[in-house]
């Protein structure tokens, strides 16, 4: 019970932190417009290829990618936390830093879901492939699963920063490029050889995207299995993240690296 309260508090803390940068207006004008343009760009490439199937493939892929992208911003959140110097104080408190860190960025799941769903709905409308309502609701739910599992992956990547300094840009970029290329956003999954598909299947986004693609065409029952797989992948990364932060905090206690220093 207490844990839930702490998670809720941490969520709000993160959300308030976020609303200190973005207001609804700036979110719409600075961020949302940009991501809609990005998705439209890829959909346009599909249209230039003259294949409606291709257009839809690229449109859906790049829209859902946004959920994963926002999840990867967890890396920045962790780095910010580290720079703020709160880590030693968290480590001296009764709530484990692993819980605080994972809960604190969870607003990104909401942000990712909103960004991806919004971009998908708007762009699909622009490109004349509107999603009828009940179907859209299922799609949004599936996107939320992707956003959550990508966030778990992002927070793990971010927690690496606690142990290994100044690799923030590398972590974010490698993470993003991997997700972008391997997970079936612009290139179908079966394009890659078996071992790479294997890797892709344990990354966030891959299975969730399959599920969304199915749901978009109305096959929502078929979408259930990959969606569950996506959720499982997320839980896996989350577990790994909790273990990692716990190990890094333990290491910090031993080496004296839990410090104010950035």
């Amino acid at each position: 019970m207490n844990l839930l309260l702490i998670i809720r508090r941490a969520f709000w803390l993160g959300a308030r932190d976020y609303t200190a940068i973005f207001t609804w207006k700036t979110w719409l004008t600075n961020w949302f417009v940009r991501v809609v343009a990005q998705v439209s760009f890829f959909a346009l490439i599909g249209r230039m290829l003259g294949d409606p199937g291709q257009t839809q493939f690229l449109l859906v892929g790049n829209a859902v990618l946004l959920a994963a992208m926002v999840g990867m911003y967890a890396v920045n959140m962790v780095s910010w936390e580290r720079n703020a110097g709160t880590l030693p104080l968290l480590a001296a408190g009764p709530t484990h830093p692993a819980v605080v860190l994972t809960a604190r960025g969870s607003y990104l799941i909401l942000d990712g879901t909103l960004s991806a769903s919004g971009a998908l709905l708007v762009t699909a409308h622009l490109f004349g492939m509107p999603l009828p309502w009940p179907r859209a609701a299922i799609v949004i739910a599936l996107i939320a699963v992707v956003a959550a599992s990508a966030y778990c992956f992002g927070i793990l990547a971010g927690s690496l920063l606690l142990g290994f300094r100044s690799i923030q840009t590398i972590v974010t970029n490698v993470g993003l490029v991997t997700l972008m290329t391997l997970c079936g956003v612009n290139v179908p999954l079966d394009f890659y050889p078996e071992p790479m598909r294997w890797v892709a299947s344990v990354l966030p986004l891959t299975n969730g995207l399959v599920a969304v693609r199915l749901a978009v065409t109305g096959q929502w029952q078929a979408a259930l299995f990959p969606a569950a797989w996506e959720a499982l992948v997320g839980i896996g990364w989350l577990t790994l993240c909790l273990l990692m932060v716990t190990a890094l905090v333990r290491r910090g206690r031993r080496h004296g690296t839990l410090d104010y220093a950035s």
């Binding site: 803390l13 480590a91 001296a92 408190g93």
Partner: protein
């Protein structure tokens, strides 16, 4: 002949040590035994920040840590607050081992590190406090009123809803203190908590510590401010090179170097001054307007000096007791800026 101390208390025989303060028996709030902490260095021997430090702090005691830069005060505070593991040795907080039962320790303590880092700067002071309170598992209703109370008590009420990045350094430091208090900790570790505070705020802070003491909280206070230590602490420990060299009540520290450092006479007789300067054991004689100050090397030099003064008809004099700062300088050694 009347011998009057500076604070107008009759000084009976010289050099009688004041009794150590007595505290209630039972589990000490803090007990450190033979703590050693080494920091590894590249291609060099490790730094030994603590070299077998031992310290006991009773429940409800306000205990000061004094010592030069690099003495190991922060390292000790970190070990006690479970942020750092000792290389060897043992430490307990309210009977809980800081290594094996860190979790229990963390339920009991509040930590305030000096400086303005460690806050969520994009959030308001109130939001910071409410968040840390939640992490400290303070029930919601209590948290709201306690946040209000602490903001008020630390003079932050007017800035409560402004983002912390707009706070001055001293205000951040005050917020830190409020953060350390939000969990209602029984044991507080304060590492240079008044760093960056203006004098008025620092005085308010001292008042606050007094109140916390009245609430029977235990406080370990690392500070470079002698006045602060003198006015707040039940006892102080002098830390040098990773060990405690002495622990006393601030009023008894004088006994560490010598209970009385010298005498002050209401007379500026040049001839007498010249005679006094010749007395073995007298290290300096200075006259200034209507008074003469005589400093001696040790306690043993007093009887002879007093006889001489009596022979010269001096009947009124004051003893010069060293301040905490004098003791600090003598005990720690005047090492200048060397660390």
């Amino acid at each position: 002949m009347t011998v009057v101390t500076r604070d107008a208390v009759t000084l009976a025989p010289f050099g009688v040590p004041e009794p150590e303060l007595q505290y209630s028996a039972g589990t000490p709030a803090i007990a450190a035994v033979d703590l050693v902490r080494e920091y590894p260095r590249k291609r060099k021997d490790p730094v030994r920040a603590l070299q077998g430090l031992s310290l006991t702090v009773a429940q409800g005691e306000v205990h000061g840590l004094l010592g030069p830069n690099g003495a190991g005060k922060t390292t000790l505070v970190k070990i006690l607050s479970t942020i750092l593991l000792p290389t060897s040795g043992q430490a307990t907080v309210c009977g809980h081992d800081v290594v094996r039962h860190g979790r229990d320790v963390r339920e009991l303590i509040g930590v305030v590190m000096g400086g303005d880092r460690g806050l969520y700067t994009r959030l308001t002071g109130r939001q910071n406090l409410e968040f840390w309170g939640a992490l400290q598992k303070v029930p919601r209703k209590v948290l709201r009123s306690r946040t209000e109370h602490l903001l008020e008590r630390l003079g932050l009420a007017a800035k409560a809803d402004a983002r912390v990045e707009t706070y001055s350094r001293g205000m951040k430091q005050r917020l830190h203190l409020a953060r350390g208090l939000i969990g209602d900790a029984r044991v507080l570790f304060l590492d240079e908590p008044t760093m960056g505070m203006d004098p008025v705020a620092a005085r308010e802070f001292r008042k606050l510590i007094g109140e916390l003491r009245d609430e029977q909280r235990t406080i370990l206070l690392a500070t470079h401010d002698m006045t602060e230590a003198e006015s707040l602490c039940d006892r102080v420990s002098f830390v040098r090179d990773g060990t405690v060299v002495a622990t006393r009540s601030p009023h008894a520290v004088a006994g560490l170097v010598s209970a009385v450092q010298g005498l002050e006479l209401d007379s500026a007789d040049a001839a007498l001054a010249a005679t006094l300067a010749e007395v073995p054991g007298v290290t300096s004689v200075t006259t200034d307007g209507a008074t003469t100050r005589i400093l001696v090397r040790s306690q043993d030099d007093f009887p002879r000096l007093l006889h001489l003064l009596a022979d010269h008809g001096v009947t009124s004099l004051r003893t010069l007791r060293p301040s905490l700062e004098d003791v600090y300088v003598r005990l720690i050694g005047d090492r200048g800026l060397e660390v």
